[in-house]
């Protein structure tokens, strides 16, 4: 009999449970003694691998005292007489279950998913069909912020199993109790949404939860296909990998279909630029080359006629020989991998331990580059729920963090001339001190007016910078991979001058104020550069804010004209519809017009379908290779390395970006190593003919009808007379 309790034992005691004489170690609880002898006692809050707390009281039994006792916490005593199924006990349990069920959203998510909600099962076992008690008069919220786990506080019975799983078993110390009385519940960190908390998505809480309060969030259709050369990744194999250390095996089992192990041979294309996807790859073994198609050179037309004469006066200007004035600050193409690509030779190498495709996986952006196996490779392809688990995993982050920080600092900090004078020693110091932080969509990074405590580099995703003014909020910029922010507050008055918000899944390199100050003190050139950047940004912000105060008209705002920096307007009282503007635009851009002589009307003006160079350029959000961007002079341009995914065209609310086919030389998918002519899409939008003093459409209008204007200035008189 003693073997029922294993070998630790100690002194034994004799007791009676439901009339049956049994022996149990003196340290055992009634619950353990009964279960060891095959006598079931129902429970909700107790798990064998967690410290018993006796909060649900469902395991109450009669143990000879005046009141019922919770068997999971009451130790056995010699001669104790225990009754587990008396009428009194059963009545108490039924009452408890009825009270719990009265607030339970039956059937809860777990009951719907797998039919094994422990509360609902106990209620059925106890024959509870009707609830006599009123339902709670208020509802508790749901928390959908985590990619891997769904939280329904309504289904929580406060059994604390998740809290003990998180804190005792995994020792993550994320979960705890909050509130009192009817308002009590579990909370992540200081009651932050799960996805924004320090939760590492190990899954232990969800595995521990007896109800549908914490459930595995399976994305619809997440079973990854198993292509040739791939095998499903078994949880046992994954747990062998250091990067999955600490993750609940049950959790991995639940997400089994969302990760596959794939093998590639040299030359195999793993993913192709511009393709849509939903997976990320973790390289376990082997090396791969990441590249984008040879960038098309600028087409520069130095004035000229259409047809053959246009070709004579047009030339293809290579990237290096056509660097714009402001481009001295960026010499690389950002892609969705741990490396960036050089302008001149956009190819890089990825090796074991590298992860790529994070933005595609997390935010469904198109693939930013083509990845080919250089050697025999083994990779894990995963969907976002598994990637989320991986990215939050302590051991994975510890392993990759240093490398990511090094690359981020090397590429994005030292790659910028402003920071080029940083000494290797100082960069080493930064590497040790900076932090990688992850943010969910909508999460605020810093708020206007808050004390400035750090400087940030964007590693992944898009950050929206806004400034509030009386009566509204103005979008100042969208920052993407490689951009930095936070210098104005640190160099100036010490307070944030704008609010920065994560637009999607964002990862930042955070440099503390101490390190930042040490950097600018030690390297005066860096200080000067940052000060100049800060001054320029503040000057532009001041201009925008000043412009805001001049005009406010519903119809003007309704057409989004306020958002534009430069509008192509056609005076319809002058325009003879001769289309000279359209032909000029086509002539200036290799035969493809970037304007359509149609659009919304404002008074007698037609706002033509041509890039407005918006103050809030939504088109720039999500570009997987950062090819659509603002120049220092604020016009939005599309760079040569556009991969033609069309995201910017879909994002533009005014239909001002179009995709056009261009002929390029690209790798032959059927014959590795060979290059063939292929038609490739490329996004085009008005570039204001910046190489000329005036846009060609305006220059070519014979009737003085076409104008490129600042809408606030151009329409201000009109608005003033109409109001």
């Amino acid at each position: 009999m003693s073997t029922l309790f294993g070998t630790f034992l100690g002194p034994m005691v004799q007791l009676t449970i439901d009339g049956k004489e049994v022996a149990a170690p003196a340290s055992a609880t009634i619950f353990d003694a009964a279960r060891a002898h095959g006598i079931p006692i129902p429970t909700l809050c107790h798990m064998q691998n967690e410290t018993p707390v006796g909060v649900c009281r469902l395991c109450v039994v009669e143990a000879g005292g005046r009141v019922l006792t919770a068997s999971c916490v009451r130790q056995v005593e010699n001669g104790m007489k225990v009754v587990t199924n008396s009428d009194r006990v059963l009545a108490a349990r039924r009452t408890l279950l009825e009270i719990l069920m009265s607030d339970h959203p039956s059937p809860c998510a777990r009951e719907r998913q797998s039919g094994d909600c422990e509360l609902e099962m106990q209620a059925r076992n106890h024959g509870i069909t009707e609830i006599r008690y009123p339902k709670r008069y208020f509802t508790r919220p749901k928390d959908d912020s985590s990619l891997a786990i769904a939280v329904d506080h309504e289904a929580c019975i406060l059994c604390d199993r998740c809290i003990r799983g998180c804190n005792e078993i995994r020792q993550n110390l994320v979960l705890g109790r909050m509130g009192k009385g009817a308002g009590a519940g579990v909370a992540f960190d200081l009651n932050t949404p799960m996805g924004e908390s320090s939760c590492i998505s190990c899954g232990e809480c969800m595995v521990s939860c007896p109800t549908g309060a914490l459930t595995n969030k399976r994305i619809a259709g997440t079973e990854l296909p198993i292509p040739a050369g791939a095998v499903p990744a078994e949880p046992e194999d994954l747990l062998e990998l250091p990067v999955f250390k600490g993750v609940s095996g049950t959790f991995l089992e639940m997400n089994k279909g969302a990760i596959v192990k794939r093998s590639f041979h040299p030359g195999d294309v793993i993913c192709r630029e511009g393709d849509f996807g939903s997976t990320a790859f973790y390289i376990a073994e082997g090396k791969a080359a990441v590249s984008i198609s040879t960038p098309m050179a600028h087409v520069k037309t130095h004035g000229g006629a259409g047809g053959w004469f246009s070709r004579l006066t047009s030339s293809l200007i290579g990237r290096d020989s056509d660097a714009r004035e402001e481009e001295t600050s960026q010499g690389y193409i950002p892609i969705d991998a741990s490396v960036d690509l050089a302008y001149s030779n956009p190819v890089a190498e990825l090796g074991p331990g590298d992860l790529f495709g994070e933005m595609t996986c997390m935010s469904f952006y198109p693939r930013s580059a083509t990845v080919k196996a250089l050697t025999d490779c083994t990779m894990y392809e995963m969907l976002r729920n598994v990637l989320d688990i991986l990215l939050k995993n302590k051991s994975f982050r510890a392993r990759l963090g240093k490398e990511y920080k090094r690359r981020a600092l090397e590429t994005h900090l030292r790659g910028v001339p402003m920071f080029s004078e940083l000494s290797p020693d100082f960069v080493e110091r930064l590497m040790d001190n900076v932090k990688l932080i992850r943010l969910s969509p909508g999460q605020v990074i810093c708020k206007q007016g808050e004390p400035a405590d750090s400087f940030y580099l964007v590693r992944i995703g898009f950050v929206k910078v806004t400034e509030t003014y009386p009566g509204g909020e103005l979008v100042i910029a969208y920052l993407s991979r490689g951009d930095s922010f936070g210098e104005i507050g640190l160099l100036g008055a010490g307070a944030r001058t704008a609010t920065c918000t994560a637009l999607d899944h964002v990862e930042l390199v955070k440099i503390s104020a101490d390190d930042f100050n040490a950097m600018v003190d030690q390297f005066p050139g860096v200080r000067r550069g940052l000060q100049a950047l800060a001054d320029e940004r503040q000057r532009q912000n001041a201009e925008r804010m000043a412009a805001l105060g001049t005009i406010s008209l519903d119809s003007f705002l309704g057409q989004g004209l306020m958002e534009a920096q430069s509008l192509l307007v056609l005076d319809l009282a002058r325009c003879t519809r001769c289309d000279a503007c359209v032909r000029a635009c086509a002539d200036a851009h290799d035969g493809i017009t970037r304007l359509v002589r149609e659009g919304q009307r404002f008074d007698r003006y037609l706002v033509a379908t041509s890039c407005r160079h918006c103050k809030d350029p939504l088109c720039m959000v999500g570009c997987p290779v950062g090819s659509i961007r603002r120049r220092n002079s604020l016009e939005v341009i599309i760079e040569d390395w556009c991969i033609g995914c069309g995201l910017c065209a879909r994002n533009c609310p005014y239909g001002n970006i179009n995709l056009h086919p261009f002929q390029v030389m690209a790798d032959d998918p059927d014959n590795p190593g060979r290059r063939i002519a292929m038609v490739k899409q490329k996004a085009t939008s008005c570039d204001l003919c910046t190489e000329h003093a005036e846009p060609s459409c305006v220059y070519a209008c014979p009737h003085d009808a076409a104008h490129r204007v600042d809408p606030r200035k151009f329409f201000s008189e009109l608005l003033g007379t109409k109001v």
Binding site: G304, T609, L659, Y699
Partner: protein
């Protein structure tokens, strides 16, 4: 091109040139013993100056062929074309001493007169018609897109009627109107919102019959051939009367559909109006440009012959 206060400089300069030329001509005509002659030195100056103005005016066409070449703004060229082209006529008249001369010179002078008059006519059209289009065609589209928009209107109308009366527009036909390359590629026209789509009205066959009949017998033929004079829907006033009558015959539940159909007819009329005005705005060029070319070629011939012989 709209002739407004921005032309003041050109107007003043033209008046000065014309005044000076007139003064010179009067003095010259009074002083010439045999009257003014094209072959005299002053007559040749008038001739070359007038021919130079004609050449400049004619170069506008060439300038338009190289719209992005930085040879001066196109509107400057256009103003020069208008005013110098206009001045060419009195200068050439001064050149010929208001005589038509022989066959060639007569042809030349008549060509010049017609060309200048057609240009003045075109300038008047270009001054007024853009405003007319602006006011009378608020739903203006790109001229080349008119046929496609018409197809869209027809499919849209069939959709409204099908929703009300049953039946439907074949999906393939509706999709065929989506421009190649997707919705975006066509710009604003392609993004034009479309109506119709699955609204159920629950009316009996008898109740919807007037609408069906009206659509089949009047509206659909009008949409297919909007320029037909016989259709009353092509006329604003008669169309209002037709739809008012239809409303009286149909139940109230069908009135929103009738309103939509009326709007489509209005848009169709506007497209017809736009096409007509567009043609008026540009058709005069069919006279002006060939005559200008002929004038320039014959002028060169005349100059060579006159100077050579």
């Amino acid at each position: 091109m709209r002739i407004d206060e921005t032309h003041r400089v050109w107007l003043v300069a033209s008046i000065v040139i014309l005044g000076a030329a007139t003064a010179v001509y009067v003095i010259y005509a009074l002083a010439a013993p045999h009257g003014p002659s094209g072959g005299s030195p002053i007559g040749l100056v008038f001739g070359f100056t007038g021919f130079g103005f004609m050449i400049y005016a004619g170069l506008l066409g060439a300038r338009k062929k190289v719209p992005i070449m930085r040879l001066g703004r196109a509107q400057g060229w256009m103003r020069g074309h208008l005013w110098l082209g206009l001045l060419a006529l009195p200068l050439i008249l001064f050149h010929g001493g208001f005589h038509f001369g022989g066959l060639l010179t007569s042809i030349l002078l008549w060509l010049l007169i017609i060309t200048v008059l057609s240009g003045v006519f075109g300038a008047i059209l270009q001054h007024y018609l853009p405003t007319v289009i602006l006011e009378r065609v608020p739903m203006e589209t790109i001229y080349d897109e008119i046929d496609r928009v018409r197809d869209q209107l027809r499919v849209e109308a069939e959709g409204f009627v099908a929703d009300l009366c049953g039946g439907g527009v074949p999906e393939a036909e509706a999709m065929a109107l989506v421009p190649e390359g997707g919705i975006r590629a066509g710009g604003f026209t392609a993004m034009r919102p479309r109506g119709g789509g699955g609204v159920q009205y629950g009316l009996t066959e008898a109740e919807v019959e007037p609408v069906r009949s009206f659509f089949q017998t009047e509206m659909l033929p009008f949409l297919l051939e909007p320029s037909a004079k016989s259709s009353r829907l092509g006329d604003d006033t008669r169309a209002v009367a037709a739809f008012t009558k239809l409303r009286m015959l149909a139940p109230a539940a069908a009135h929103p559909v009738i309103a939509n159909l009326e709007n489509l007819c209005e848009e169709e009329r506007q497209l017809t109006r736009q096409a007509r005005l567009h043609k008026m705005l540009h058709t005069w060029l069919l006279v002006h440009i060939p005559l200008s070319l002929a004038l320039l070629l014959l002028s060169v011939f005349h100059a060579v012959i006159a100077l050579r012989y």
